[in-house]
Symmetry: C2
DNA sequence: AGTCAAATCGACTATATAGTCAATACGAGA
DNA sequence: TCTCGTATTGACTATATAGTCGATTTGACT
């Protein structure tokens, strides 16, 4: 008899499971920040996560699956960084500027995050694709408003991404001059042929 | 006695040795174009080069040493691409434009080369440092002539390199619009705040 | 304290990779 | 054809890594 509540059991399990899984993903983030996926071993992950090998395979089928989980977590940090922009900014160029600054400032404040971003930017991952898609959306909108000198949106996206990634690399190597973020942003806007965001009726943020 | 000419013997050996070594470096270039050094195995190299494992270790102490040799070869292709510029162009911005165009056109024509360049641009290798140093030299000279809106040479270098690398990535993914190279170059010059090279007395190329 | 399903553990087998070395092949000159 | 210094070979050992699975622990609930 003893009709135990199985659903409850499962719920408890899910919580414990989530904690351990998070440990493994944390370790994965740390390690993927310093070496590419192909060079990362399961043994290294389980040692860093302080977990047995079997536990890894209980949570993930392969390293690729872990990498996907790390990518998802990274995507969440992006969403967190950009949340204010989505709410209040209607101007596509203002959004672009805000995101660019946020990303560079985050990179300055959190080198592990920066390294992870750069590693992820290498391979065409799901995460990289999403960033690019959002960027292209803003650029297309700005272009439609006649605010850009460039009309090849793909090229424009490559220019923004390229400068972003390379400046982030520079930050990791200690090239952090005064006003770096503002200067880099100004260069991006010049490259795009976009005037710095001016106050227009109801277009900029609050 | 039979006083055999030992120097001659060594010379013969050196020739055979050089052939085999070149085979291994070729294989290394091919493989390093598709995966990072940390993910490359000696077995994979010797299989691709069609030599025995012992032969690899007879020529190189480690994979790192092979990577260095590949880097050197890559550097030679750079020199070859830029040779015309060194001879005739006194204008630093003209040199920069020429190099930028050469590199992108080479990337379009030779995807393996492009992949290898991008992989090498990742880690701060000796090769990457040299490209950066040359670029900074030209940018410093241009800045001294008052031809640049930017005065942070490191940032300027990051902008040029970033756009170059990202556009090259785009090329590898099939984003090769018409006039891509010219448009990308124009964007770089706008970002730097440099007017397109105009004919000045004795400053441009022949 | 006892129960039990879920989660965790770590020893174990398979395979892959690094690095070594004695044996062999090569080839120009004697 | 034979010699001999040099280059090449591939089998071999040792180590690292992937992936499995039965044993063990955990913790809410009874």
């Amino acid at each position: 008899m003893a009709k135990i509540d199985l659903a409850r059991r499962a719920e408890i399990g899910r919580q414990r499971r989530a904690r351990t899984r998070a440990q493994i993903v944390d370790a994965g983030m740390m390690l993927l920040a310093e070496r590419p996926l192909e060079a990362l071993t399961v043994d290294a992950v389980v040692e860093a996560a302080e977990v047995a090998k079997g536990t890894f395979y209980y949570h993930f089928q392969s390293m690729e699956e872990l990498a996907a989980a790390v990518g998802e977590r990274l995507g969440e940090t992006f969403d967190g960084l950009l949340a204010p922009a989505r709410l209040s900014m209607r101007d596509p160029i203002a959004r672009l500027c805000f995101a660019f600054k946020q990303f560079l400032e985050k990179a300055i404040a959190d080198p592990v995050w920066a390294r992870l971003v750069i590693q992820s930017a290498q391979a065409p991952s799901e995460f990289a694709g999403e960033v690019r898609a959002n960027l292209k959306r803003d650029l297309t909108e700005a272009s439609a408003q006649g605010r850009l000198m460039m009309h090849d949106v793909d090229l424009a996206a490559d220019i923004v991404l390229g400068i972003w990634v390379q400046v982030t690399r520079g930050i990791l190597q200690g090239r952090t001059a005064a006003d770096l973020v503002e200067r880099a942003l100004a260069a991006v806007l010049r490259a795009l042929g976009a005037a710095p965001v001016r106050q227009r009726k109801g277009n900029t943020n609050s």
